[in-house]
Symmetry: C2
Subunit: 244 residues, 2 copies
Amino acid sequence: MTKSEQQTAKRDAAKEQESVITGPAEDYLKAIYELELAGGAASTNDIAQRLSFAPASVTGMIRRLAEHGLLAYERYRGVTLTAAGRKAALRTLRRHRVIESYLVGTLGYRWDNVHEEAERLEHAASEELIDRMAAAIGEPVVDPHGAPIPTREGVVDETQYCSLADLGPGHRVAVVRVGDDDPEVLRYLASIGIMPGVTIAVLACEPFDGPITLSIENERISIGAPLAAQVLVDMIGGSEAPSH
Amino acid sequence: MTKSEQQTAKRDAAKEQESVITGPAEDYLKAIYELELAGGAASTNDIAQRLSFAPASVTGMIRRLAEHGLLAYERYRGVTLTAAGRKAALRTLRRHRVIESYLVGTLGYRWDNVHEEAERLEHAASEELIDRMAAAIGEPVVDPHGAPIPTREGVVDETQYCSLADLGPGHRVAVVRVGDDDPEVLRYLASIGIMPGVTIAVLACEPFDGPITLSIENERISIGAPLAAQVLVDMIGGSEAPSH
DNA sequence: GAGTCGAATTAGGTTAACCTAAACCAGCTG
DNA sequence: CAGCTGGTTTAGGTTAACCTAATTCGACTC
């Protein structure tokens, strides 16, 4: 083997590692996983919208991912993750959420600006780094926004919670999780005391997706339906009538 | 503006941020900076070898970087960083070295495997993250291998040290810095006690790039010339004859 | 069962970043 | 100063990942 052949071989070997699951591919798999959780097969359009790509680009990428066995794909029929695809998606999701947790837990970030940082780091961090970060903050099971962190082995809690927008008045609920992507939304939620673990009572709901009035820590506040939809909650009592 | 035009605009705006200095470009700039430090203008071949790319690829990239004002380039004449290029190189170098320092200082990494991790993270970490990491470990001025960390403003110590391979017998020196890239070399250096801050006496040097015999912490050891060249040192006394 | 509409795909194009192989140039050697 | 040589560049090709515009398809309506 000549010297330049050695170098070529080294390049090929280095490329082999990453191979199929590139950074962009990880983003697709993550998006598809989340869409699937929400409702069955993920459509081309849904994926395109979530990633801010043109639908045609999505078709191209999902074809490639399907060829590599990461998702099941029939033209005009949407896609579903295979076991391998799901595993890859959860690996990326774990990275994302561990990174968010670490940044908040150790480096003094606030919960509203970790998403963007994690979005980039998740593609660059090694498994070792993620495990060390997780260990450093005590192996948390949820990230700062309440999203469950998959384990190293790819196990994750997929419980479906309902959002504040789905409830009628009279419910008492615990906030489980909030959307993690919009910094402004997160800052506002924090300012009115909505964060995982907090207890909320639903006082009133106006019709036609109107505002929802809540009681949080004895404060009364109304929020719009779109915002309410970002807040996932767990029932802790009452239904139409508060238990007493 | 239609909805899809908005989305296109958003994509363009997002792309604008990164724009010219992509991840690969950062690697080129870093390499060129280091080659320049070692000796004048960086040649296409030197850059190609350092980055394990084909020379033709290097020509292509340096043309692009030159077009964007990051380096001065005349065909067949090698390249030199412009002020903008130097700034970008130092920014990346700062990231790399802060990350290495942080991984060792806080996450329990050893010095032999931080390089690879930093090599990927340096392209993904935000300025804020780097600054927080640096603050968390007390704003170090050198990384775990002794390489100087540029400041946020792009100031860096460029003192040229000589290597162990450049010395004759009788010198007493302090180790300042070692090469950071080869894990095996680093593990071996650590095993024989060579790391920044340690004092070494040069006992003997065989001719024709032969082995160099050292005294480290009262241990006697011989190392080969290539390895000795990886160890940068600072004189602390003696020349041919030890001061007494 | 034909028409229609929106979603999905195909067709064709762009850019970045690599490659190999062939041409080219500079500077040194005889 | 002709010629060689090695470093450099040009020419031409590939792949990934995007794009727009045009076409096709599925499902639903009439």
